[in-house]
Structure formats: C-alpha cells, structure tokens
C-alpha cells in the first residue's frame, strides 16, 4: 500500500471471536457497562432492545451492535470517557453483543432533536459473523413531532416502520432483520460502497 492511495481500506467481517465480558473475565471488544450508557437507576433511563434475525428468521447470537446518539436535550457529546465512563457524564456511545437468543439491550436516554423540528434517532451500526462489512441503520424515536415531517422517513414509505422503534413503557423496541420480508432499512452514506455483481 502506498501512502498517497486514498481509496478506503476494505472492511471485513467481525468474525465470531470478538470477545465477551463476564464477572470473571473481560476479553474485549465488549467492556464493562458497554451497553449501559447510563445506569438503570438514572431517572432518565430507558432501554433500547430488540432481536437481530437472519434471512431464515433465526436469531443471530454472535452480532455486535453499537449505538451513537445525542443526549435528552439534543446535545452531541464531545467529552472523552466513552470506555471508562463518569456516571455523571453522558458520552452517547455504547456497545452490546447479542445474547444466545439474538437479543441486544442498551440502557440509555431518549435523545432529543439535534435541531428544532428534526426527528430524533439513535444511530445503530451492526457487525456479525457472516456479515462481510458493517451495516448502518437508525432507531427513530416514535411519536415525535419531527417524525411526521422527516424527509428520510417519508422517502422510505412502507419500510419506514423497520427503523421506527416501538414504545413499551420505558422500553424502545427495535428488531433488526438483516435479510427477509421484514428486512431493516440500512443506510448508505456518501463515500461508502457495497458492491453487487
């Protein structure tokens, strides 16, 4: 590779061996409280949860998800401490692995709109064994003002519901279907390529 080659480096699958975290051991990528952006005892705390499915409708037990979001006032976190958190500072980023039945769980706050009238969402990136590159999606917060007028949501038509979380008390639920009839909408931002024959 030459240093003046600015073509992006290709991605590869995360594979199956990206680590785990338990009381006795921490073999990262997962890390202590990685899925808890705020403690569950925080009065603002909500849970973002769901199950990740493959094209046969089977849960994927070896996926890793990360979220990145604004705080409850729509402010974008800029302070470090994303891995080793100060519980009084919201750093906006979390990492969770799916469990044996494909379920992920984050404890976080409900983001506010980053600009007036914008639809607030939590950005989600998905990695998994068998998935040769990352996939980006969003978990939109339901019943917000911005959602009704959001051009991205409007452009998605019927498929918009795959990226709008469902509210159940203090839970926001968003299942992710990598493939199939209910396939989640994944976003492709400028500069990214996903080649197909």
């Amino acid at each position: 590779m030459t240093t003046n080659d600015l073509t992006p480096t290709p991605g590869q699958t995360i594979g199956p061996f990206f680590g785990y975290f338990n009381a006795a051991e921490n073999v990262h990528l997962p890390f202590e409280n990685g899925q808890h952006l705020v403690p569950a005892s925080d009065e603002r705390a909500i849970q973002l949860t769901g199950t990740v499915y493959d094209g046969a409708g089977d849960p994927i037990p070896d996926a890793m998800l990360e979220i990145w979001q604004a705080d409850e006032n729509g402010n974008i976190p800029t302070q470090d401490g994303s891995l080793i958190r100060d519980p009084f500072v919201f750093t906006g980023w979390g990492r969770a692995t799916t469990d044996n039945v494909g379920t992920y769980r984050f404890t976080t706050v409900e983001p506010g709109p980053t600009e007036d009238g914008k639809a607030p969402f939590i950005h989600v990136v998905v990695f998994a064994r068998g998935l040769l590159n990352k996939l980006h999606t969003r978990a939109y917060i339901p019943d917000t003002e911005g959602l009704e007028n959001d051009p991205t949501i409007a452009a998605l038509g019927d498929r918009a519901e795959t990226v709008i979380a469902k509210r159940d008390g203090k839970r926001l639920i968003l299942d992710i279907h990598i493939q199939g009839d209910n396939e989640t909408v994944f976003f492709q931002f400028p500069g990214m390529t996903y080649p197909k024959p």
């Binding site: 290709p10 061996f17 990262h28 950005h123 998935l131 590159n133 493939q179």
Partner: protein, 270 residues
C-alpha cells in the same frame, strides 16, 4: 456438547471440499474481471455482502437496496476517547501477563487517515487476534490448539496527532474453521476503527504478506478486486524491526472521507 454447540452456532457449516469453494471463487473472479474490462466503473473496493463461498454470508446479507442518504448532525460526529479510556501499555499485547508469550514478537505500526488524507487523531483503535498456535481466548473457539496463559490477544491504542499507532504483539497463526471441509483462515489481526464521523466506523482484518492461504479463503476473497485485497496486507518493514527484539510491519488504514464541513481552525488547531 462442543459439537452440538458449534453446529448450532454455525448452521451454514458444510462438508463441501476446498475444490468446490475454489471453483466458486474462480467463477466469481472470472465474471468480475470481465465486468471491469467491459466497464472500468465496475471496479470494487469493498467486500461483497453476498459472497456465497463464505457460507455464513448467505442468510446474513441484505437483499434489498441500501437507502442512500446524507448524514445528519449526530452522524457527523464520533464518540470521544482519550488516555482516560486507554492506558498506554494496552498497545503492548506481550506484557499483559506474568510471563512472555510464545511466538514471533512483532510490531505493527501505521497511520489512520480519512479519505481526504487528514490524519484521524486521538481516536480509538482496537485489535484482537489468535495466538501463535492459532487459538483465540474465546468460549466459542473449539480449535484443539494450546491457549497461551501469557497471551490474551487483545489490544487498544489512541491514535497520535498524525493518526499514527503502534502495537507490539505476537504473530498469529492460521486457524481452521467450519465454512467447508479443511477450511483454514490465513493469519490475520482484526482491527476496529473510528473516524471523526460515526459513518466512518469500520472493522477489518490485517493479513501478512505472501500467505499461501489467500487464494483459498472466502473471507479475504470476498473482496473481489486484487488491488483492494492488497490494501489489507501489511508490508514487512525492516525499519520497524528492532535489533534482537522484534520483526516489524506497517499497515496504514484509510477511512471513507469525512462529510463534515471542516473549519480552518478545526483543521489546524494543533
């Protein structure tokens, strides 16, 4: 029990011989080369998500078109990491235990830049890998090769002002997996990277030059273009090798371009 487990965890595992996989890879290569020859704009720089020789990709790739969109405000920023998060010694994977790990001690050094050539500074870079026998510390790794009590195979670093990083580790060995009969992965180190925009987030694998398993591996070959595949192969660099201590490799990483409107002062604030 282990057998039951692996079957469940890898439902796409097949007993296909290597020759079947080779023939599928060769056909995709032939078709790809023909398509680029006919139309240079068909050149591919990233892996295909649907790459049938990698059996696990069959049910784990989207079949609908991805939705093209511009990033919104939050997506033009990234989480912040600093020396609060990562200790300087976490970049040396050979000193995490009481003794020296077994294997060839290596340094891997490089730079992380974005697609506009800007260094990605003060960002988290994580690696994980098998040991010198091809074994991971992982409950799902059933390969009957020894665990090294002095090697966990995980490291972290924060990039420098010029986007640079350096890890000291042990050269990993190839290891078998269940994609097909007698399937072996080329030796590799997994890399996880952040940019200045969260849309630049990426995970990849770094390989070693001249690995004889390259042509047989459906994960590496999932990138159909040779030039693109070469971007994942580190370069042996004698200037990174040090006297009577380690051999050395360089591996530079380019993220996609930042979509943020960079202010003069942001660009030159150091």
């Amino acid at each position: 029990m282990p057998e039951q487990n692996t079957a469940r965890l890898d439902p796409q595992a097949t007993t296909d011989p290597q020759e079947t996989i080779d023939a599928e890879i060769a056909q995709i290569q032939t078709d790809y080369r023909a398509s680029v020859e006919a139309d240079a704009s068909k050149e591919e720089t990233q892996p295909r998500l649907n790459y049938p020789p990698y059996r696990s990709s069959l049910l784990r790739h989207p079949t609908k078109d991805l939705h093209h969109t511009d990033p919104e405000t939050i997506e033009l920023h990234s989480p912040a990491f600093g020396h609060r998060d990562v200790h300087i010694l976490e970049s040396d994977l050979t000193i995490q235990h009481n003794g020296e790990p077994i294997g060839e001690r290596i340094k891997v050094r490089g730079k992380v830049i974005d697609g506009n050539g800007r260094p990605v500074r003060n960002q988290l870079i994580e690696i994980w890998q098998a040991n010198a026998a091809g074994r991971y510390i992982h409950k799902r790794d059933q390969h009957p090769a020894p665990i090294d009590p002095n090697f966990s195979g995980v490291g972290r670093a924060i990039t420098g002002e010029d986007g640079s990083y350096e890890f000291t580790t042990i050269k990993p060995a190839p290891y078998p997996w269940k994609n097909h009969h007698n399937a072996w992965r080329p030796a590799h180190i997994h890399f996880s990277l952040f940019g200045t925009d969260f849309t630049q987030r990426m995970i990849t694998q770094m390989y070693f030059p001249g690995d004889p398993l390259f042509s047989l591996d459906p994960i590496y070959q999932g990138i159909t273009d040779q030039k693109a595949r070469d971007r994942l192969v580190a370069t042996y660099d004698h200037s990174v090798t040090s006297h009577e201590w380690n051999t050395g490799y360089t591996f530079d990483i380019v993220l996609t371009g930042s979509q943020r409107t960079w202010m003069e002062d942001e660009d030159h604030d150091h």
